[in-house]
Amino acid sequence: MELFLIIILVLMIGGAIFSLEARDLLSAVIAYGIVGFGLVICFLLLQAPDLALVQIVVETITLIIMIAVILNSTRDEIKPVKGKRSTIFVIFVFIFIGLFLYFFNRTTETLSAFGEHVMRMSKAYLQPGAEKTGSANLVTGVIFDYRGYDTLGEATILFTAVIGVLTVLRLKGRKEK
């Protein structure tokens, strides 16, 4: 099972690199779709069916909005300017990546190996979860009953983002030159 995950992650990384280096914006967006749909298969392999349902629809809507934005403006990528690439820049990049991987290594030493999760806190949610909330789906029970206040915060973020979109794209009350 871990082998399948590694294969799909390598495909996602290939899609991500191609999407950032493409010379045409439409190819970049279609390669970005590979990452999204590969993530759906990863969620199914990791036994999370709610997340696979949400991710597949969200990815489709994101692709629709991105293609609509690109086809109404421009499709070209900016011509790369061959500037003076100083060596100090490259050295800083390698130092930064080295620091990042070192600190990441120190952080994951406290995590268990992949697949042997010590469910210390989750036992308190799993065992009495079904009787106390009354729902057979434990993820829904955690979202709306044990952690309902956080779901209110998430719904507020969604509402605020939509208010932001409506403000940016406002048409009435503006003087066009």
């Binding site: 629809v57 809507i61 789906n137 029970g141 709306f144 209110l152 509402f159 939509v162």
Partner: protein, 146 residues
Amino acid sequence: MKGMTIIVKTVTQIVCGVIFLYGIYIIVHGHLTPGGGFAGGTIIAGSFILLILAFGSEFLALKKEETGSSILESTGILIFLIVAVLGMIIGGLGIFFINFLPKGVIGKLLSAGVIPVYNVAVGMEVAAALLTVFLALLIYRDEVLK
């Protein structure tokens, strides 16, 4: 924006009602099977977006404003808040978000107290939010980028 070919229009007429019904099923059975409010809300928004894309904005004669769907979105989150505050008043312990309706047998449709109400409220809010964003982009494109 123009619509698509006649094959897409015919298939959309058959399919978009089924997608809408599937979204409602995922919302209502949120406490029994995988899914819940967020997944069902995005599926319902997907069915409306399919309808708009297949038939074009001129055919549907959109009213050129997105006020209706933003009223629905505000109603959804208001219901969420009112039920949460009702838990503080009725529940008897003064706790925000307490589950105060009776929890029935695990596995039946009418169980889990107040969770199905939360699912419906969140589903309505998410579907209306995504539809508002899509309509705002569509109206901007039609009015400005002629």
